[in-house]
């Protein structure tokens, strides 16, 4: 393999690796390159920070709950099922 420009991690390549990095599946040398690029590049740092903020915001989506009517209906479904056993 040739060493040089092709091996240099560019911004365009870094944005593809963020989930792999966050999941801890990048091989160590690649993870080090990822970190070295970030240390040197404000734009990518901003991008990665926005990915983190996105993930956090998704995690804060509140749960949905069934309407009272649907919950009631569900209970009857259960009782019917139990009755038929």
């Amino acid at each position: 393999m040739s060493v040089g420009v092709a091996d240099e991690l560019r911004c365009r390549g870094l944005v593809e690796l963020i989930t792999d990095y966050l999941e801890g599946v990048l091989p160590t040398p690649d993870a080090r390159r990822f970190e070295a690029h970030l240390a040197d590049c404000d734009d990518c740092s901003t991008y990665v920070e926005q990915m983190r903020q996105t993930i956090e915001a998704i995690g804060q989506i509140p749960p949905e709950s069934l309407s009272a009517e649907a919950s009631e209906h569900l209970l009857w479904t259960f009782r019917d099922w139990r009755g038929s056993r």
Partner: protein, 218 residues
């Protein structure tokens, strides 16, 4: 193959099979909100989503004697729901693209996380570096919690191809592990990650659009 089923899950199963109503209610309370959230992402209305959830629980009850515990109860119930929600969603939309094209589209392997146009091309001073870099979001923690941003988030997730949508919902909304998601959706490790990355990248882009449209001023 068969991972050991946790002890309390075995007790829960036994109670369900015995027709214990409080065990059923507890399970519905634990899993119900997520099931409804997932159903809502596949079907056009809340009423249909609630029906899908009802049908899922009925299928769970009817299948409980056959449930082997090879996957966790949570994963099994979620797979049932997803099958029903997908079928229902497709029927309601009546658009069925060719399976092969759909798979390609769903995986999004060919799409970049960020459009190529935002990077410098070969003739730029620094090929592959940002040409139009992201701009820091102002007051992100408050604004991302707001009603408008939450709507953007949900719409962006709803607009994703189904598999991307399921992966991001289970991983990032429900906090499932990668392994749980792979089991529930029958994905390889790599697929799971590719789908998650595509999904997160698109949701970030939607939020970026939202922040840009609102302007920097809070």
């Amino acid at each position: 193959m068969s991972a050991p089923v946790a002890l309390d899950e075995r007790a829960l199963l036994r109670a369900l099979r015995d027709g214990d109503e409080s065990a059923f209610t507890a399970l519905v309370e634990a899993q119900g909100p997520m099931l409804l959230r997932l159903a809502l992402m596949h079907v056009p209305s809340r009423a249909v989503a609630e029906e899908v959830v009802q049908e899922t629980w009925l299928a769970v009850l009817n299948g409980i004697d056959r449930f082997q515990g090879r996957s966790s109860l949570k994963t099994w119930i979620t797979s049932i729901l997803l099958n029903k929600a997908r079928t229902r969603g497709e029927r309601e939309r009546r658009v069925l693209p060719f399976a092969a094209l759909r798979r390609r589209h769903e995986e999004g392997r060919d799409e970049p996380a960020v459009p190529a146009g935002r990077f410098q091309g070969r003739r730029g001073s620094e090929p592959g570096a940002w040409a139009r870099p992201p701009v820091e979001w102002s007051e992100p923690s408050e604004r991302l919690r707001g009603e408008a941003a939450r709507r953007v988030l949900l719409e962006a997730i709803a607009a994703l191809p189904p598999r991307q949508r399921d992966v991001i919902a289970l991983r990032d909304i429900s906090g499932w592990s990668a392994e749980e998601v792979r089991n529930a959706l029958d994905l390889t490790e790599t697929n799971q990650r590719v789908l998650l990355h595509r999904a997160r990248s698109k949701v970030r882009a939607a939020l970026e659009g939202h922040f840009e449209a609102e302007g920097g001023a809070p």
